[in-house]
């Protein structure tokens, strides 16, 4: 019997719950730490970004109006699905980054735990940041944090899975939808995570994932009028000024984070709504 030929995975994009190839037809080579060719992921274009924004915008209202409890359940479900594929993710990280199997395993476990951690925050964040405000009149006055809308995320170059989860989980926890640009050098964990997300009851379009060059796409993230916030944790320092200028047009909230687990990452992409309610009516 002849030797079996391996079936290699085609890494595609994740937009609106589907796995399309880039409209541009472009790909780029990803090599591991020893310079060995690993895969040809899509080199996404600005039009893929545009399509992803349309999908994210369409999904946003429904996701924000799901109960916080339900959003928490779904984030927890992503953790459950990832738990079942720990070995696959660990092997992928090993192969790509050259870390020891133990380290890779730890990164996957930390990512799962982080999803559970953010799942817990969905129905607690308004208690943390909301308030009843004292006002000089016969009114109750509440401040409630609400989801911002559509948020972009430029994933960190290193820590391919943990850094990626640390970006998307807090963004979607509050009811935002996200367009994430995976790490340019190590995009495979993010694309495999898309398979996990696709089977986790997360509504289509809540998480959209692109692979490509942040130097090419980040300016389009910044200038797009329908992206309300942008997490630039993974952006090259020399691009930051340009991106902040681009985002000024629509007063985009642009943040960068060091901490992986922080309620501040959730609150950064929420805005406060204040409600006045007359007493005695």
């Amino acid at each position: 019997m002849s030797k079996r030929i391996d079936v290699k995975k085609t890494y595609k994009l994740f937009i609106g719950g589907a796995f399309p190839r880039t409209e541009s037809g472009r790909t780029y080579e990803v090599k591991n730490s020893r310079g060995v060719f690993i895969a040809n992921p899509c080199l996404a274009s600005r039009k893929d970004l545009k399509d992803a924004v349309v999908a994210a915008r369409a999904a946003q209202s429904g996701w924000a109006h799901a109960t916080a409890y339900n959003r928490g359940q779904i984030l927890y479900r992503i953790a459950e699905m990832l738990e079942g594929r720990r070995d696959q993710f660990a092997a992928e990280i090993c192969e790509l980054t050259g870390v020891t199997p133990r380290k890779a395993q730890e990164e996957v476990e930390a990512s799962i735990d982080l999803l559970v951690w953010y799942a817990g925050w969905t129905d607690k964040i308004s208690a943390l940041d909301g308030a009843t405000n004292p006002v000089a009149g016969p009114y109750y006055n509440f401040t409630i944090p609400e989801a911002l809308g559509v948020v972009g995320f430029i994933a960190p170059k290193k820590s391919a899975l943990l850094g990626f989860v640390a970006g998307i989980a807090p963004i979607i926890a509050s009811g935002n939808t996200v367009i994430a640009l995976a790490s340019e050098n190590a995009p495979l964990s993010a694309m495999s995570l898309a398979e996990v997300i696709a089977t986790s009851d997360l509504p289509a379009g809540v998480v959209n994932i692109l692979t490509g060059k942040s130097s090419e796409l980040a300016p389009w993230f910044a200038s797009h009028m329908d992206i309300d916030g942008l997490d630039i944790s993974g952006l090259d320092a020399k691009l930051v000024t340009e991106i902040k200028k681009g985002g000024a047009q629509n007063l985009k909230r642009i943040h960068s984070f060091k901490e992986v687990a922080s309620p501040g990452r959730i609150l950064a992409f929420m805005e406060s709504k204040t409600v006045w309610h007359p007493i005695g009516v």
Binding site: K50, W220, S223, H224, M225, D226, G246, Q249, N250
Partner: protein, 315 residues
């Protein structure tokens, strides 16, 4: 000459004319429409296409929940689609239900939109299931209220059971009411006609009976204005011009939601019927959501960055 001298108005002559039409090569039509859809229209051509498409939009609201306020807002948008940019042209027409015609006409006249006709959907739209008496009254009402265009539906039941003469006579009767006061657009509801052969037959039937425009769909049934269906109708108007020397218009409606779809339609028109049809008097697009996307694409071309629906009106 009555019926362009091609039929004499009898059942026999109509049947014989329609049955002599060659069948549509369905695979060929699909392939040709798909091939034309791959044309890439960029920069100045795209700019021209967007502005042309805006002038061809029949801005439509056909909801049970329509109110006078909504129709008036639609009229304002029809006259000046982007209030922040005066270089954006007005749309082709405003398309409303019968009882909203007078509201639309009055409002358009009062805000400098006298040049925009009001199109009324008529003859028991969208199903067409009513007596001839009702359909005639329906049409008369719309014209009395100031409609400049009548979008009538055909009786698909009669058409599908082969009762062509009944459909023909209905169109002739409605055309008579329209006279020279209103343009007549005939809606086939191609999603219910099922085959391209039926679309071709219905196209000729309507043109012979006096339609000024043939229109794909009501927008209430999917599939609606798919590119191959529009291709078949464009071929029909092109060939009818050869036969009768008259240019009949085409109006795809339903399912054309973004700029890309609209530009695909314009390419189809140019390559099938010819550039003579690239004018609002011979080609219209029935749509509601499309206009916002055209405006957003226009903003993108002017500003260099992607626009947001938050900066255009909701309806």
């Amino acid at each position: 000459m009555k019926y362009y001298g091609l039929v004499d108005g009898s059942d026999a002559s109509l049947k014989s004319f329609l049955n002599k039409l060659p069948g549509v090569d369905a695979v060929g039509a699909d392939a040709r429409a798909a091939m034309l859809a791959t044309r890439s229209i960029k920069t100045t051509s795209k700019r021209w296409a967007i502005d042309t498409a805006i002038t061809m939009v029949d801005l439509t609201t056909l909801e049970g929940a329509d109110t006078e306020g909504k129709v008036q807002a639609l009229c304002a948008k029809a006259v000046r689609p982007d209030p922040t940019d005066l270089s954006v042209p007005s749309v082709g027409a405003v398309c409303v239900y019968n009882d909203m015609v007078s509201v639309a006409r009055k409002h358009l006249d009062s805000i400098g939109g006298a040049h925009i006709p009001v199109a009324a959907v008529s003859t028991a739209f969208p199903s067409g299931r009513a007596s001839m008496k009702v359909k005639i009254q329906d049409t008369q009402d719309a014209i009395d209220a100031g409609a400049g265009e009548i979008d009538m539906v055909i009786d698909r039941g009669a058409f599908l059971s082969g009762n062509y003469i009944e459909v023909f006579n209905e169109i002739v009767a409605i055309k008579e009411i329209c006279g020279d006061k209103a343009h007549l657009k005939v809606i086939f509801e191609t999603g219910e006609l099922v085959t391209y052969d039926n679309v071709r037959k219905a196209s000729y039937l309507a043109m012979l009976a006096g339609a000024d425009f043939i229109k794909t769909s009501t927008g209430k049934i999917a599939p609606a204005a798919t590119p191959p269906v529009v291709l078949v109708m464009l071929e029909a108007v092109r060939d009818f011009y050869e036969m009768a020397g008259v240019r009949i218009g085409v109006k795809p409606a339903g399912g054309i939601r973004n700029t890309k779809d609209a530009i695909k339609q314009l390419v189809l028109v140019n390559e099938t019927a010819g550039p003579e049809w690239l004018t609002p008097s011979l080609f219209r697009i029935g749509a509601s959501a499309l206009l916002n996307d055209l405006l957003m694409q226009r903003m993108k071309m002017d500003d260099g960055y992607y626009a947001s629906p938050q900066y255009v009106t909701i309806d």
